[in-house]
């Protein structure tokens, strides 16, 4: 990636949480040595299983969760550990759309009340707050705007809330938008509109977007590059337009198969409990995908594979792709 255009970079980011297990205290690591970079004007997709640490990574990038190890850089400045005051400055450039829309709107304020503060704070002097609000509601399909403006959050449907949350983040005019499942409750048609809107904003305003989702097709659709996470680790990173053809990691393959709804109900998808949580433990040493991987070998459950470069903008972490385990034909 072009270094000069680099907006945000994270080096070996680690986030940990304490977890009680019986009487033992353990540490889980939903973000495990993840390095990434987002260029200005770029859309980076982060996809992965439920519970794989996408939200935690997003919150860490937004400065909401402290980073245990590693460093985070915004426009060349180290932003790994910020004071409360510095954070406020950071947030004037970085915004987040939250996954849980039922939690992310203040229940006692109308849509207009929720939105005028960010608009007011960040509006250009030429626009009136009302016009800007009207405009934002229009482009997100929150029509009729007059009625929507006066609604309290509990009077909105799930998808309508989601769009209000999107408007709020956009109103703050960020350079980087971290969007955590911003369209999960929208029907495909509206989803396409909103995704196109985000893509348009990227082009018009030079907005960079980290698009977090479990929905591979929409990530492939909108993103330039895609990061695939599993069990807190980065397992593959690849250009979106190459993903379908060139992705190599077994988990990405499986995700792709599920996204195509290939052989619904057939064997690859049934059985197998969630090993998910135990692979997040800091004490776990193997490949996070090993417990469920159809081609896992001995080495997979004992040694963590490191990212191997597969090509331009493409790396994957899998023993089967390096020489370390005889890749089985499977």
């Amino acid at each position: 990636m072009d270094k000069t255009k680099e907006l945000l970079r994270g080096d070996n980011l680690v986030v940990q949480f304490r977890q009680t297990q019986g009487f033992r205290r353990t540490l889980i690591c939903p973000v495990n040595e993840i390095s990434l970079a987002v260029a200005a004007n770029e859309i980076l997709g982060i996809v992965g299983e439920s519970g794989s640490g996408k939200t935690t990574l997003g919150r860490a990038l937004a400065g909401m969760t402290s980073i245990v190890r590693g460093s985070l850089w915004l426009k060349g400045q180290n932003v790994s550990r910020l004071s409360r005051k510095e954070l406020r400055k950071y947030w004037s450039q970085v915004q987040m759309i939250f996954q849980d829309v039922y939690n992310s709107l203040n229940p006692i304020y109308t849509v207009e009340q929720q939105l005028s503060f960010p608009i007011q704070r960040h509006a250009t002097p030429t626009q009136s707050v009302r016009e800007e609000l009207e405009n934002l509601l229009q482009i997100t399909g929150l029509t009729p705007t007059a009625a929507v403006r006066a609604r309290l959050p509990h009077e909105l449907s799930g998808g309508q809330r989601q769009r209000v949350a999107i408007v709020r983040a956009l109103a703050a005019r960020p350079d980087l938008l971290i969007a955590d499942e911003p369209v999960s409750m929208l029907d495909v048609s509206l989803r396409a509109d909103i995704l196109q809107l985000l893509a348009r904003l990227r082009n018009d305003l030079g907005l960079a977007i980290v698009y977090i989702t479990h929905d591979l097709p929409s990530a492939v659709y909108i993103a330039d590059r895609i990061l695939v996470m599993y069990g807190g680790c980065l397992v593959e990173t690849i250009r979106a337009d190459a993903l379908i053809r060139e992705s190599r990691h077994p988990y990405t393959e499986r995700l792709l198969a599920a996204a195509r709804f290939e052989n619904p109900g057939s064997s690859p998808f049934s059985g197998g409990g969630s090993a998910n949580s135990s692979v997040l433990l800091t004490s776990y040493r193997g490949c996070p995908y090993a417990p469920r991987c159809p081609i896992a070998a001995q080495i997979c459950s004992t040694t963590r594979p490191s990212l191997i470069r597969m090509g331009r903008d493409h790396s994957a972490a899998c023993h089967a792709l390096s020489g370390s385990h005889q890749a089985q034909s499977g």
Binding site: V94, F98, D100, F117, R168
Partner: protein, 323 residues
């Protein structure tokens, strides 16, 4: 408080917890809508009025002992007289005033403490919150009444102010815990983060996002606080640990009891103090019930009137529109 103790099942039965009309002044609407709350409020205001107007409506000085003792109620002495020849009515009026002053003053102190120790650190989180939470919990396990008795006995000659302080200092912990857990659960909600991210200062977040969301709880806690303080004051006075030169509902009871009102059958001497506490307490409880009914959807009766009205409106609408 209903929100704190609600079991998950209650939550499910509430259905969407979005159902309670969430509005900043939801608790105010209680007065407009709820009969119980209205009744409670009227009684409450009556007492306030009595307290404020005490000098005007008391017919004699409460300490005047020049009347014939132990007179039953009469035209001169509406509530009769005490064993020492004081006018019970005047004592009751003045007692209302000082009981309420102590009650409100103590509540003010405990509220300030509860906010400072429970709410504020909960918002900031981190070690401060942990320390304060531990402190609160330690305080909670110390039984309140004995602590108060010890404190009051230690002070010896309490006056109104020391009474307030003693009651206030012993009464904050439970309220701090309630406010803390509510603040914690709100501060974790993502709209609080969203406000911060869009540029709101901590102050704005606390005052504009969090506090308005817990006003109902805050009001409930306030009502309980006043009730607790009034009861504590009466308790201390009754045990003779209060301000014995002063006149309050508690001291009225104390003197009646010690003066042998029961033995002499002087019910009029005994009754007003107890009734004052009971009725005032009831008014607080009524307001609290009302608050609960409006904010807790489980207790809300569905309004049939509005259902009929909506059905009619709907039929009218359908009649007009080309269906």
């Amino acid at each position: 408080m209903a929100e704190m103790t609600a079991s998950p099942l209650d939550a499910k039965d509430d259905g969407p917890r979005r159902a309670p009309n969430p509005s900043r002044f939801g608790w105010l609407r209680v007065l407009k809508k709820n009969r119980k709350a209205q009744a409670g409020f009227i009684i409450f205001m009556g007492f306030i009025l009595v307290a404020v107007l005490a000098p005007e409506i008391a017919r004699y000085s409460p300490s005047n002992t020049n009347f014939p003792p132990l007179q039953p109620p009469s035209a001169q002495h509406w509530f009769g007289t005490t064993g020492l020849g004081q006018d019970v009515y005047s004592q009751f009026i003045w007692g209302t005033r000082s009981s309420l002053i102590v009650g409100f003053g103590a509540t003010l102190i405990s509220t300030l403490l509860a906010v400072a120790i429970g709410m504020y650190p909960a918002y900031w989180g981190g070690w401060l919150d942990r320390v304060m939470a531990t402190f609160t919990n330690i305080f909670l396990v110390i039984p309140g009444l004995p602590l108060m008795i010890v404190a009051a006995a230690y002070v010896h000659h309490s006056n109104t102010l020391t009474m307030m302080v003693i009651i206030g200092l012993t009464g904050w912990a439970g309220r701090a815990r309630v406010l803390r857990s509510q603040t914690l659960s709100l501060a974790r909600r993502e709209f609080v983060w969203a406000a911060r991210l869009t540029g709101a200062s901590d102050w704005r977040v606390l005052v504009h996002e969090i506090l308005p969301n817990m006003l109902s709880l805050f009001m409930a806690s306030l009502l309980y606080g006043i009730l607790g303080a009034i009861l504590a004051e009466a308790g201390l006075e009754f045990l003779g640990l209060g301000n014995l030169s002063g006149i309050s509902w508690g001291s009225l009871l104390y003197w009646a009891n010690n003066g042998g009102a029961v033995l002499d059958g002087a019910w009029w001497w005994l009754l007003p103090g107890g009734l004052g506490i009971a009725v005032f307490g009831t008014s607080l409880a009524l307001m609290n019930f009302g608050l609960d009914e409006v904010t807790n959807p489980r207790l809300r009766q569905t309004s049939l009137a509005s259902k009929d009205r909506l059905s009619r409106a709907w039929r009218a609408l359908k009649g007009e529109s080309p269906q």
